[in-house]
């Protein structure tokens, strides 16, 4: 049904909707550190492959899988084993 891929991937900006369904903060602006090579950058800059059977986000530096998201009926599966950390910007007024 879908057109042949013109390019292999899109980018993490397209995760904003699927992740927005799960989290109350926008994770695409979070800085994630790759477990493979240590590169840190916004989730928006990951290389995103998908949509079927799930979304796979790879590191733009080393191609390691950083994040996988599968949306099934009634639940979502999120695999973050390729991310060492996610640094999520919060307003300074929220500091504790």
């Amino acid at each position: 049904m879908t057109a042949p891929a013109q390019d292999g991937y899109q980018d993490g900006n397209a995760l904003a909707g699927p992740l927005g369904e799960l989290f109350a903060v926008d994770l695409t602006v979070a800085e994630c550190r790759c477990a493979g090579c240590g590169l840190a950058g916004p989730v928006a800059s990951l290389r995103l492959y998908g949509p079927a059977p799930g979304l796979v986000a790879r590191c733009p530096g080393c191609e390691e899988v950083v994040l996988r998201l599968v949306r099934g009926p009634g639940s979502a599966w999120l695999d973050l084993r390729g991310a060492v950390t996610l640094r999520i910007p919060l307003g300074s007024e929220d500091a504790f």
């Binding site: 049904m1 879908t2 057109a3 042949p4 891929a5 013109q6 390019d7 292999g8 991937y9 899109q10 980018d11 993490g12 900006n13 397209a14 904003a16 909707g17 927005g20 369904e21 799960l22 989290f23 109350a24 903060v25 926008d26 695409t28 602006v29 916004p42 989730v43 928006a44 800059s45 995103l48 492959y49």
Partner: protein, 241 residues
Amino acid sequence: MRRLAWRVAELTAIREETPTARTLVLRVPGWPGHLAGQHVDVRLTAEDGYSTQRSYSLAGPSDGEHVELTVQRVPGGEVSPYLTEVMEVGDQVELRGPVGGWFVWEPAAKTPVLLVAGGAGVVPLMAMIRARRTAGSRAPFRLVYSLRDPGQAYYADELRHPDPGLDVTRVYTRTAPDGFARRPGRLTAADLAGSGRPPEYEPDCYVCGPTGFVEKAAELLVSLGHEPGRIRTERFGPTGG
């Protein structure tokens, strides 16, 4: 902030941009507003329950309950042929958003801006241009718009008479209009150096287009001395539209 939910949107107007692209004006009750550069997910559900969704950039700034999307028809796609050929004023579609806080322009920003568009990648950049106008911003803007031929130009009338402080440079890759000085060809460093904000201005750069275009344009910007941290990119991948 609550988690994202689907809303029902109704098509209120259509503007043809090119023979294969059109702008849809949708009314979304309860729309919370958005920033230029953000996008929405659109979901279609068939009678048998099969549903599929795609992301589309918002083409204009927030205007009450109305939002605009410009959709390019992708032959054989699952969503774009419906949006561009079948959907009529009064029809409804499911939509969720706004989403995406990375590829956005804040109207209060005073920094010079360099926008680099490849084809349909001009959509979120046009939202920034329109948001600049709406906000009365004086931030210097420059748009470098790469397109195959003049017939592919979105927002042609509006960009023919740019707002004060906005420069528009077109780069034709296949066919240029008669008398156009630059020969047709892919975007080069000279296009960006000659017409873009020089790196010394430290512009915020926004690059949007097909993946290959974005990679190349970002590479050229870095080679010209633009700070990688000031370059934000958005790629369409396997559009599958």
